[in-house]
């Protein structure tokens, strides 16, 4: 589904990602772990098409197509979704209208008719229930006045609404208490299927107790220095990032 080959990218000429290789297949969950400043958020921004980041080298193919040829909106229309680490507040725009516009633009891209209001509202109700987002929150302005936990739940709600093929969760667990974390993880687990894939970016192992990854990659100073299965995450939790930094180069 997603193939990253030797990706070098950064911001304002400063290289942050120094040769990333990653292969995500349909139905897989990949966790990317790493200390602060290792390049986790840069990777998610590059995948979503944020143009403040520059790509110096390498390629990313998504379902066989060159991802760099797609604008951010076309990436979303092709099925890529980024759950933001810091979701943006949009005063004056209701969650409901925002999602309706997004869904219908995606449908238009696919040559489908817009959803009827009845269909849309039915879907809205279902998906909101999935992340325990109450009705009042769907009619509020996007993320305005939401708590940290509510913002993250709203990201997963949007994910549920747009039903992407590849979801990137950028530190969705940061700032969440354990109850909110469970709600978010439960939501993701319900959305997980054989047809879609997830990249879960996180600093801590905690989230991975709830969203079980098939693969774990450790990112450090812009490189994936170790890959393994779920056990790697547990080991990291126990021994800390220094352990792996000191053993750099040893592949499991």
């Amino acid at each position: 589904m997603l193939k990253i080959k030797n990706l070098r990218a950064g911001i304002e000429g400063k290289e942050i990602l120094k040769g990333i290789n990653l292969d995500v297949k349909v139905g897989e969950v990949h966790a990317i772990m790493g200390p602060n400043g290792s390049g986790k958020s840069t990777l998610s921004s590059v995948l979503a098409g944020r143009d403040t980041f520059e790509v110096y080298e390498g390629e990313i193919t998504y379902n066989g197509k060159n991802l760099f040829e797609f604008s951010p909106e076309d990436r979303a229309r092709e099925g890529i979704f980024l759950a933001f680490q810091y979701p943006v507040e949009i005063p004056g725009v209701s969650n409901t209208n925002f999602m309706k516009t997004a869904i219908n633009e995606i449908r238009k891209y696919k040559g489908l008719e817009p959803l009827s209001s009845v269909e849309f509202l039915k879907m809205l109700k279902e998906k909101a229930a999935l992340v325990e987002l109450d009705k009042e929150m769907t009619s509020r302005y996007v993320n305005v006045g939401f708590s940290g936990g509510e913002k993250k739940r709203n990201e997963i709600f949007q994910l549920a609404m747009l039903n992407p093929l590849l979801s990137i969760l950028d530190e969705t667990d940061s700032g969440l208490d354990i109850d909110a974390l469970k709600i978010v993880a439960d939501g993701v687990n319900k959305l997980k299927s054989k047809e879609n894939s997830f990249i879960v970016i996180t600093h801590y192992q905690r989230l991975l107790n709830y969203i079980i990854p098939d693969f774990v990659h450790v990112l450090n100073e812009g490189r994936i220095i170790k890959s393994g299965d779920r056990k790697l995450a547990l080991e990291l939790e126990e021994k800390g990032y220094d352990w792996i930094k000191n053993n750099e180069g040893i592949k499991v």
């Binding site: 979503a48 143009d51 604008s71 909106e73 979303a76 229309r77 979701p87 997004a102 633009e105 949007q158």
Partner: protein, 434 residues
């Protein structure tokens, strides 16, 4: 348009649109005398520094312009669905045939043409006419007074709630020639009364249209006035207005001014908080594109203690257009415990768009809470990216953000039909500029 033409036409009015008592003639004459002493402002005048009126006043206008509009055309100018009485003016003259005022002369309410009441309401007029309009410093007010002809005269009695809104539609029809329109509205509301007034300007015709409007309002004790001023017409035309509101104790004045039509708009809005505990809420939304100009000058005058003023104007400036916001808040010595808040926010959409924003606060009392500020920026890239990352095109994302920016003001319109009309009109305008 020059002073001699104005004087000549004022004389014509004196011989053709007369009052038996001579009340209007003397009002006009006084203004003509003042006119001798002042000139049209140029850029050296602080109040007109950024607003070039030269193209406006160098044109020749018909003062008595005919109209090609007839009954079947009227509906297209009217905002549909409002539960409102409507007063239609074409080229400044009240049109009884197109107006529908269900309660214009019962229960002590007066809603009628000014011109037909020169004599019947002589005392009411002489008591209020020109009380808060400066003839020495704002020449357009002086011109308006010298050319006093028609407008609306409203008097709402004490304890009366105007259940239907009053919708004043000013049609400027320049289909025959360049047309200057003069309109003078006087609105007096009694104690504990409440009223909602919608004022809309629309332009028709290919020649130049220019309306010079003066609204004098008096809000009685504990009364409430909502004033929605709608300047959103697609046709080009020019508008200069002065709205001055004198407020008695505990009265509330809510004003929302929406301006994205015409080619040139200058609004002066003065709220005089005379009575203790009075309050005003002044909202404005302006959008300019091409080489249009919208200039909002507001003045809040805190005379008395415990009064509140709250002002928020927002602007979107595109292309080579110009926005001007000049908001002055004066807190006089006796106006202790004043709360005054003022804010102006702008989004510039191009490198050639200009906003001149000048919030001013002058405080002479020592126990007050006042704040003011201005912020001008561009569309937030982070917000734009967030929206696009959900599959929404850049153009649509911009439009969503601008709609969101504008909605804070649109929300202040407390009439669902009018709000819907504005939301649709806004959508169309944003599509045009983004």
């Amino acid at each position: 348009m020059d002073k001699n033409t104005i004087k000549k036409y004022s004389g014509t009015l004196n011989s053709e649109v007369k009052s038996k008592s001579g009340i209007i003639e003397s009002i006009r004459q006084k203004a003509v005398t003042e006119l001798e002493l002042i000139d049209f402002p140029d850029k050296k005048n602080e109040e007109w520094k950024y607003t070039n009126i030269k193209p406006l006043i160098t044109a020749d206008y018909n003062f008595f312009s005919g109209t090609g509009i007839n009954a079947k055309d009227i509906d297209k100018f009217i905002i549909p669905g409002m539960n409102a009485d409507i007063a239609v003016f074409i080229n400044g003259i009240f049109r009884n045939d197109y107006s529908k005022i269900s309660n214009g002369k019962t229960n002590g309410v007066l809603i009628d043409s000014l011109k037909t009441n020169y004599d019947d309401k002589k005392e009411l007029i002489s008591k209020h006419f020109g009380l808060n309009t400066d003839l020495k410093n704002n020449i357009f007010t002086t011109v308006n007074t010298a050319l006093t002809n028609d407008g609306i005269l409203i008097s709402i009695p004490d304890n009366y709630e105007l259940t239907k809104h009053l919708y004043i539609l000013n049609i400027i029809d320049s289909s025959i020639a360049n047309t200057y329109v003069n309109t003078r509205n006087i609105i007096i509301t009694g104690k504990k009364s409440s009223s909602t007034i919608i004022m809309q300007t629309v332009f028709n015709g290919r020649n130049k249209g220019f309306i010079n409007e003066v609204n004098e309002m008096y809000a009685g004790e504990d009364s409430k006035i909502n004033l929605f001023k709608i300047q959103t017409d697609k046709n080009t035309g020019s508008e200069i207005s002065l709205t001055s509101v004198e407020q008695d104790g505990n009265s509330v004045f809510n004003s929302v001014t929406i301006s994205w039509g015409g080619a040139f708009i200058r609004n002066n809005l003065n709220s005089i908080l005379k009575g203790e505990g009075s309050e005003c809420h002044l909202y404005g939304l302006y959008i300019c594109n091409d080489d249009r100009l919208v200039d909002n000058h507001s003045f809040v005058d805190h005379f008395s203690p415990n009064a509140n003023s709250n002002e928020l104007y927002k602007g979107i400036i595109a292309d080579k257009s110009t926005g001007v916001f000049n908001g002055k808040v004066l807190v006089r010595k006796d106006a202790q415990k004043t709360n005054a808040y003022q804010s102006n926010k702008n989004i510039l959409l191009s490198d050639t768009a200009i906003i001149y924003s000048k919030p001013q606060l002058e405080i002479f009392a020592d126990n007050v809470k006042c704040s003011h500020g201005a912020a001008t920026g561009q569309i937030n890239e982070e917000e734009l990216f967030y929206i696009r990352s959900r599959g929404i095109s850049e153009k649509e994302a911009k439009s969503i953000l601008l709609t969101g920016f504008a909605s804070e003001i649109i929300e202040q319109i407390k009439d669902d039909s009018l709000k819907l009309f504005l939301q649709n009109s806004l959508e169309e305008k944003l599509r045009e500029i983004s």
